[in-house]
Amino acid sequence: MSKYRTRSNAPIFWGLFGAGGMLSALFVPMMIFITGIAVPLGFLLPAGTMSYPKMLAFAQNFIGKGFIFAIISLSLWFCVHRVYHSLHEFGIHAGMGAKLLCYGIAMLVTVVCAVGLLGLGF
């Protein structure tokens, strides 16, 4: 079986997928609990935890900004990678179009997120 083989460019997408999967596995459950359940219900955390000045300060902080960006952007890369593979697994061989659409969504979210966060200033 000596034939010419094309190198796969999967490592780029696989790397983003792995980083997103790992980061979201570590932090997303607690983030959902905080922003989606505890704070809206005024439960456990002090009142005003997510008040405008506090959240703005958090998102203007270099580390806070980076954390939000990494969670949102990488989680999307993680998700679209799985969706793209699932299409193949369900027997939908949509080819390049599906690939562009899936990874395009993640790219779009990355750009929107970056612009949004940079717009908040430092």
Binding site: M1, R5, R7, S8, P11, H85, E89, G91
Partner: protein
């Protein structure tokens, strides 16, 4: 056989390429004793009901890797799977999933054999030594790094367990990757870079989506899923660092 025969129904997926358009199921009522394997059940059918029933077997002791089949939908070696564990229910046996059926329970393994060849399954020394220079020494620690991956008996149950191989028959697949990893991990071998072309290719490790069922069904605990996934990291390293290292991978 003992005096009190129990009867188990064995449903077999039959396919005769000379007369059939597609496979069909046939049921046989097989008398069995508690010590009878599924393989012996198939042999009973061949000897008593239909001599044309075709299946592979050799050692009857889970070492030759010939008698793999789908048993109630799960890839197993039929020689170490016992009829008593299924009785009184009907048992269904089919050719290993994901491979083309040649006849009855025999599958076409030529694709797998080509893959085994493609991985260069032999030690390619870092520096060739003459006889006078002596043997290649290895410490127990170096030996432990690859010994697990030498246990493969090429039964291909892992391919029958791998949906990604079913979806893309070009995928190098679990067993071939486990054997490739076995040579890469051997301290006497120096050919990892030349095997990388295959690992990092479109047919390579990134077809795997970490289902993990291959390692689950492996009768020899080779853990091929681990071999495949370790090489995703290796291939990624090669992809991003190939321009830095003088040897590099391929292309």
């Amino acid at each position: 056989m003992s005096e009190n025969h129990k009867i188990i129904e064995i449903e077999v997926l039959r396919y005769n390429p000379e007369s059939d358009e597609e496979p069909h199921l046939e049921v046989y009522k097989v008398p069995f004793t508690d010590d009878m394997s599924v393989l012996q059940g198939a042999q009973y059918i061949k000897d008593n009901f239909d001599g044309s029933l075709t299946f592979r077997w050799s050692c009857r002791m889970a070492i030759c890797g010939s008698c793999g089949m789908m048993i109630n939908g799960i890839p197993k070696l039929s020689c170490e799977t016992f009829l008593r564990d299924y009785y009184p229910n009907r048992i269904r046996i089919e050719a290993l999933a994901h491979f083309p059926i040649e006849k009855d329970l025999v599958v076409d393994l030529s694709g797998f054999i080509e893959k085994l060849e493609a991985i260069q399954p032999y030690i390619i020394p870092k520096e060739p030594k003459t006889l006078a220079e002596g043997e290649y020494l290895q410490t127990p620690k170096e030996f432990n790094a690859y010994i697990q991956f030498t246990s493969c008996i090429n039964c291909t149950l892992c391919y029958a367990a791998c949906p990604q191989f079913g979806l893309n028959p070009d995928f190098i697949g679990p067993a071939a990757m486990a054997l490739l990893h076995r040579y890469n991990m051997d301290s006497r071998d120096g050919a990892s870079a030349s095997r990388m072309e295959l690992v990092a290719s479109e047919e390579g490790v990134y077809n795997c989506s970490a289902v993990g069922y291959c390692s689950e069904v492996c009768p020899k605990h080779v853990d091929p899923a681990s071999a495949v996934n370790i090489n995703k990291a290796n291939a990624a390293k090669d992809y991003f660092l190939r321009f830095l290292s003088p040897k590099g991978g391929s292309k």
